[in-house]
């Protein structure tokens, strides 16, 4: 029996097509997935992401613990509210999960980790936290609604108390504020501005309905996937996992080799860097008709690789993908689609940002 968020009946009443995602019964789309995608790029859309796991950390040594737990440096979080995207690595430098860490008042921290990796994440975090006497508390009673798009922030602010609306209007990107029982982060997974709002589950349905009444379009996991890939954002399990280092997943920017911080996986990463990273993740665009898909073979000058995330980009009207290929100049790249080698272009990503195609895409 798959798990349900508190919004499950709401999704069904809206006519959503439901699928299993990481053990959760979630809406993939309510109607046209492409229209939902465009609604986020052009106006405002909302996603129920309550399947994701919220974990609160408290304790005197919580900052020391996080210095060890993750590859990015929590020392970048100098003021309450600041958020950090990072990977949590095993000793071999493989990615256990990617997550966002929010700093909170009184030195506490909040993590949001993936749904599909919940069990292993909680086990790992709990084990690693024990020597630091850090209290690890999962918060299953909290729901998460992501509201994204150029008009998302204004529409959310219109539903908040004047005090909280003023706070929410002021926060910069990758910063959170709290009030009236809500936790509002200016973060997201779409390449658009917006908020991810953590709300007590008994208020989630009402909040969702008020957002809808304010003109925010419900959007499913299908649109979420095309939006995040256009935005050049990785999906755990597809673009990286425990057999892949951040360097092989285009996540070097999330690794901080700051002095004197011995995070788990650091020595493996340093060795890999010294020896040369064997594989690299590249962005692909296909100008011919068709769709790039996970698992397709990618032919490069240095040998074969494969498509990780691949999809049709509704904004660009053509297929885009991430591929992991042998390191080095890939030369002219082709993708094997049902036995036919189709030329593709190697491009930097994001593919789309703030509603528009990026240069060179």
């Amino acid at each position: 029996m798959s798990k349900q968020t508190v919004l499950n009946a709401t999704h069904r009443a809206l006519g959503a097509k439901m699928v299993d995602f990481g053990g959760w019964d979630m809406p993939i789309s309510y109607g046209s997935q492409i229209e939902e995608h465009h609604a986020v790029r052009r106006d405002a859309g909302m996603f129920d992401v309550s399947h994701m796991t919220v974990v609160d950390l408290e304790g005197e040594r919580v900052r020391d613990f996080l210095r060890q737990l993750v590859a990015n440096s929590v020392d970048k979080l100098k003021t309450p509210g600041k958020a950090l995207y990072t990977c949590m690595l095993n000793a071999d430098g493989g990615v256990i999960d990617d997550l966002i860490i929010y700093s909170r008042a009184d030195g506490a921290f909040r993590l949001v980790v993936n749904a599909a990796t919940r069990d292993k994440d909680l086990a790992w975090i709990g084990r690693e936290a024990a020597p630091f006497a850090v209290q690890v508390r999962e918060r299953p009673e909290l729901s998460i609604i992501a509201v994204q798009g150029p008009n998302a922030r204004a529409k959310v602010q219109g539903l908040l108390s004047p005090e909280l609306a003023a706070k929410a209007a002021k926060i910069g990107k990758f910063v959170a504020c709290e009030g009236d029982g809500l936790f509002i982060g200016r973060t997201g997974y779409t390449g658009e501005d917006g908020y991810e709002i953590i709300v007590p589950q008994e208020q989630a349905v009402e909040f969702w309905n008020r957002l809808q009444a304010a003109g925010v379009t419900p959007a499913g996991l299908g649109a979420r996937d095309t939006l995040r890939l256009e935005a050049g954002m990785n999906l755990y399990g597809q673009d990286m996992d425990e057999t892949v280092s951040p360097y092989e997943a285009a996540l070097a920017w999330t690794v901080a080799l700051d002095e004197g911080r011995d995070f788990t996986g650091r020595s493996a990463l340093e060795q890999q860097k010294a020896a040369g990273v064997p594989r690299t993740m590249i962005g692909l665009v296909m100008d011919e008709k068709g769709v790039l898909r996970h698992g397709q073979r990618v032919v490069t000058a240095n040998g074969d690789g494969e498509i990780l995330s691949g999809t049709f980009s509704p904004t660009l009207g053509k297929a885009i993908a991430f591929a992991r290929v042998p390191a080095g100049d890939p030369g002219a790249v082709q993708v094997d689609i049902r036995g036919k080698l189709v030329p593709v272009r190697v491009v930097s990503f994001p593919f789309v940002r703030d509603g528009k195609a990026c240069d060179g895409v």
Binding site: S29, Q33, G222, K289, G290, V291, P314
Partner: protein
């Protein structure tokens, strides 16, 4: 629930076939199938002149979510393909039994092939069972 036209016959895998007045057979995918696939973004068509065998792949339809083979409900030679679909694959979403047709074949074993297909009632019954 869309009405299923009475002059169509179906494969279990959701392709439809319609015998035209001139004896050719038009082939497409059902409205139910397009609904399962979601927004279509690409259709790979066969070439005019290709020979089709019953149950062999004759086209590929791709939605944002997935690629799906279209199997030939009857054997024969492809005499027409719906090339408008290459620019507007979403026509299948909008009109699966009409403008969203995929190919027309000149059948080589018409009577027997058609007898092996499901009539609209039997196909509707299959869909009901799938929903359970």
């Amino acid at each position: 629930m869309n009405e299923i036209p009475g002059d169509l016959k179906f494969m279990k895998s959701h392709e439809w076939a319609r015998v035209e007045d001139d004896g050719t057979v038009t082939i497409g995918i059902s409205d139910h199938a397009q609904g399962l696939l979601g927004d279509l973004v690409y259709v790979e068509l066969p070439n005019v002149g290709d020979t089709l065998e019953v149950g062999a792949g004759c086209a590929v339809v791709e939605s944002v979510k997935a690629a799906s083979d279209v199997y030939a409900p009857v054997a024969g030679e492809v005499i027409k393909v719906n090339s408008a679909l290459s620019d507007k694959p979403e026509t299948i979403n909008e009109d699966a039994y009409g403008d969203g047709w995929i190919v027309v074949v000149r059948p080589s074993n018409l009577q027997e092939d058609m007898e092996n297909l499901l009539d609209p009632d039997a196909y509707a019954e299959q869909l009901d069972n799938e929903d359970d």
